[in-house]
């Protein structure tokens, strides 16, 4: 589904990603872990098409298409979803209006008619259950005045509604209490299917107790320095990142 080949990304003149290789197949859940500043969020943004940095080298192939040639909105319409680490507030724009515009933009791209209002509201009701989100929340403006936990739930709710093929969850667990973490994880687990894939970006292992990954990667200084199964996450939990840092830095 996704093939990243020797991806190098600069922000201004600084190289943040120094040659990432990653292959994600349909049905898989990949966890990307790493200490702060290792380039995790930059990787997520590069996949979604944020334009404040330059891809200087390498390729991102998604479903046989060169992703770098698509605008951010077309990537979204092709089924890529980014769960934001810090979802922005859009005052005065209701969740209903926002999501209806989003869904209909995607439908238009696929050559489908806009979803009738009744069907849309029904769909919203169904998906709300997945993340146990309050009705009240969807009547408010996009993320406005939402608590940290509500914002993250809202991201998963949007993911449920938009039904992406590849979901990238950027630090979705940060700032969540244990209940919210459970709800968010349940949501993600319910949406797992053999057709789609998920990339979970996280600093901590605890999210992976809830969402069990197929593959765990460690990103450090702009490179994936280690990959393994879920036991790698456990190891990191016990020993921290230092042993990997030592290993890598010793080789360098």
């Amino acid at each position: 589904m996704l093939e990243i080949k020797d991806l190098k990304v600069n922000i201004e003149d600084k190289e943040i990603l120094k040659g990432i290789n990653l292959s994600v197949k349909a049905g898989e859940v990949h966890a990307i872990m790493g200490p702060n500043g290792s380039g995790k969020s930059t990787l997520a943004s590069a996949l979604a098409g944020r334009n404040y940095f330059n891809i200087t080298h390498g390729k991102i192939i998604y479903e046989g298409k060169d992703l770098t040639e698509l605008t951010p909105e077309d990537r979204a319409r092709e089924g890529i979803f980014l769960g934001f680490q810090y979802p922005v507030e859009i005052p005065g724009v209701s969740m209903v209006n926002f999501l209806r515009t989003a869904i209909n933009s995607m439908r238009k791209y696929r050559g489908q008619e806009p979803l009738p209002a009744g069907d849309f509201l029904k769909l919203m009701r169904e998906k709300k259950k997945i993340v146990e989100i309050d009705s009240d929340l969807t009547n408010r403006s996009v993320n406005e005045g939402f608590s940290g936990g509500e914002k993250k739930k809202n991201e998963i709710f949007q993911m449920a509604l938009l039904e992406p093929r590849l979901a990238i969850l950027d630090e979705t667990d940060s700032g969540l209490d244990i209940d919210a973490l459970r709800i968010v994880s349940n949501g993600v687990n319910k949406l797992r299917s053999p057709e789609n894939a998920t990339i979970i970006i996280t600093h901590y292992q605890r999210l992976l107790d809830y969402i069990v990954p197929d593959v765990v990667h460690v990103l450090y200084k702009g490179r994936i320095v280690k990959s393994g199964d879920k036991s790698l996450a456990k190891e990191l939990e016990e020993h921290g990142y230092d042993w990997i840092k030592h290993e890598v830095d010793a080789h360098a």
């Binding site: 005052p91 724009v93 926002f98 515009t101 949007q158």
Partner: protein, 481 residues
């Protein structure tokens, strides 16, 4: 050049969508302004002597004045002798049915998306359409007449209701008020008159579409609304204008009188030609709008969506004379390219327990300048006066300007006056968030801007609100910062 900048430049490239010109024969008088011209205008309109005299008095006063220069506007010098002060469509006859109306005129309205026919049927709006200076078509007169409501062109009112005109014209905006008020009082061509009798709730939204058309013709409209005790009326004003190169002067006067327990809602969507992307052409819009809450418990509410004109100079105001009277001002002013707007309100608290609310939302894009200028004045006797002002500015891009000039004069200790102001930029984060959900940048901006202006748009009557939302989107097509 970043993507954002590219899009920003594209806006500037988006052409005015309502730019077209209608070929209707107009009867004009030569350029220039002097006593003779004032007399000709008055004579053409077959006005009574007192009105001719009133015009001349205003003209003489105007000659002693200078154009105001205190606004945050850069206006090239206007040659008042290079303007035609009167133009009337040649067909003077009034029509019984729509079939008799010049098809080209109907087409004009259709292209504007405001077909009279449809409005009659769907919206239940009585339309007094002003094409240049003389009103062409008046509808729904019967229903209104039934209730004793008078809604007609200003000239008709001069002929048929001269006692009311004599009593109220100039009572809120005297000709001595300012430069443009004096000019209008001297040369006003036509406009609308609306009278709601005691105890009557006007059953429909009243609207007038103004349209500047004849080349080089200044428009000097005059509107007078009188709401007697316990009455209610909602009045809509909306306009667009065709593309042209010369600047066009427009100086209107709107006067509202609200008696005891009366309520007047006045809504405007203004979309006159703003000039091209180099800042050439466009309407100069100098408007004096003022209402007086004369009776106790009366209320006047101004709502405006200003997207057009090269220059806007406009301060719809309320004089809160009656005790417990309420004044409101809700405004969205959008400027793009080289547009300049200096707009706001004045709330003059005279009566006890008077309340006023000001919500102003400025949106600046391109190389435009957008200023809010507002005065809240509490007089000595205005016990317990309350004002709440909120002035927000939204910037799209980094070549535009937003300015806020609040003035406060409080002469009563019991008054409570609050002022809040914010300035924000449409963030790339917000746009990217929308993009990531499959929404393209154009639609993202439209969503964000309409969300920002929601508080004001919600105050508009339904059919106007939809039109206004589209207008905001069209006006800002592609602007990002």
């Amino acid at each position: 050049m970043t993507d954002q900048e590219k899009i920003l430049n594209e806006v500037t490239g988006s052409d005015y969508k309502f730019g077209f010109q209608t070929n209707i024969d107009t009867e004009t008088i030569p350029k220039g302004l002097n006593e003779e011209v004032v007399r000709i205008i008055s004579a053409k309109k077959e006005e009574p002597e007192w009105l001719t005299e009133s015009r001349l008095k205003a003209f003489r006063h105007w000659q002693t004045l200078h154009m105001p220069d205190w606004a945050h506007l850069k206006i090239p010098e206007i040659d008042y002798q290079d303007i035609i002060y009167y133009a009337a469509p040649k067909q003077e006859a009034k029509y019984e049915s729509m079939d008799e109306v010049d098809p080209e005129l109907l087409d004009t309205f259709n292209r504007l998306g405001i077909p009279l026919e449809e409005q009659k049927q769907l919206a239940g709006v009585a339309v007094d359409a002003v094409m240049d200076s003389v009103s062409v078509k008046t509808t729904f007169q019967d229903i209104l007449a039934d209730k004793g409501i008078i809604f007609c062109s200003f000239s008709d009112a001069v002929k048929n209701h001269s006692d009311l005109i004599k009593k109220y014209m100039g009572s809120v905006v005297p000709y001595t008020d300012n430069y443009f008020a004096a000019l209008n009082s001297a040369v006003f061509s036509d406009g609308s008159f609306c009278y709601i009798p005691k105890g009557v709730r006007c059953p429909m939204e009243l609207s007038t579409y103004f349209r500047i058309n004849a080349a080089n013709t200044g428009q000097f409209e005059r509107t007078l609304i009188v709401a007697e005790e316990d009455s209610y009326v909602s009045y809509l004003e909306g306009c667009t204008a065709p593309i042209r190169d010369e600047n066009q002067l427009h100086a209107a006067i709107v006067e509202i009188v609200a008696m005891e327990n009366a309520e007047v809602k006045y809504s405007t969507v203004q979309n006159w030609y703003p000039g091209n992307k180099e800042g050439k052409g466009g309407i100069y819009n100098f408007v004096t709008k003022r209402g007086i809450c004369k009776g106790d418990n009366s209320k006047i509410s101004w709502t405006q969506v200003e997207t057009g004109s090269a220059v806007t100079w406009k301060y719809p105001s309320c004089i809160l004379k009656g005790d417990n009277s309420v004044g409101e001002f809700y405004s969205v002013a959008v400027t793009n390219n080289y547009q300049q707007a200096d707009t706001g309100t004045k709330m003059i608290h005279i009566g006890k327990n008077t309340r006023s609310t000001i919500i102003s939302k400025g949106i600046s894009a391109g190389k435009s300048q957008n200023s809010y200028r507002g005065l809240v004045k509490v007089l000595k006797g205005a016990e317990n006066a309350r004002n709440y002002s909120q002035c927000d500015s939204l910037l799209l891009g980094d070549k535009c300007g937003a300015h806020t000039f609040p003035y406060l004069e409080v002469n009563n200790r019991s008054a409570v006056v609050e002022h809040e102001a914010t300035t924000s930029k449409i963030g790339e984060d917000q746009i990217f968030y929308c993009n990531q959900r499959g929404i393209d940048t154009e639609n993202a901006i439209s969503l964000i801007v309409n969300g920002y202006a929601k508080e004001v748009l919600n105050k508009l009557p339904m059919e106007f609100a939809v039109e206004a939302q589209k207008l905001l989107a069209i006006t800002l097509e592609g602007s990002v910062g």
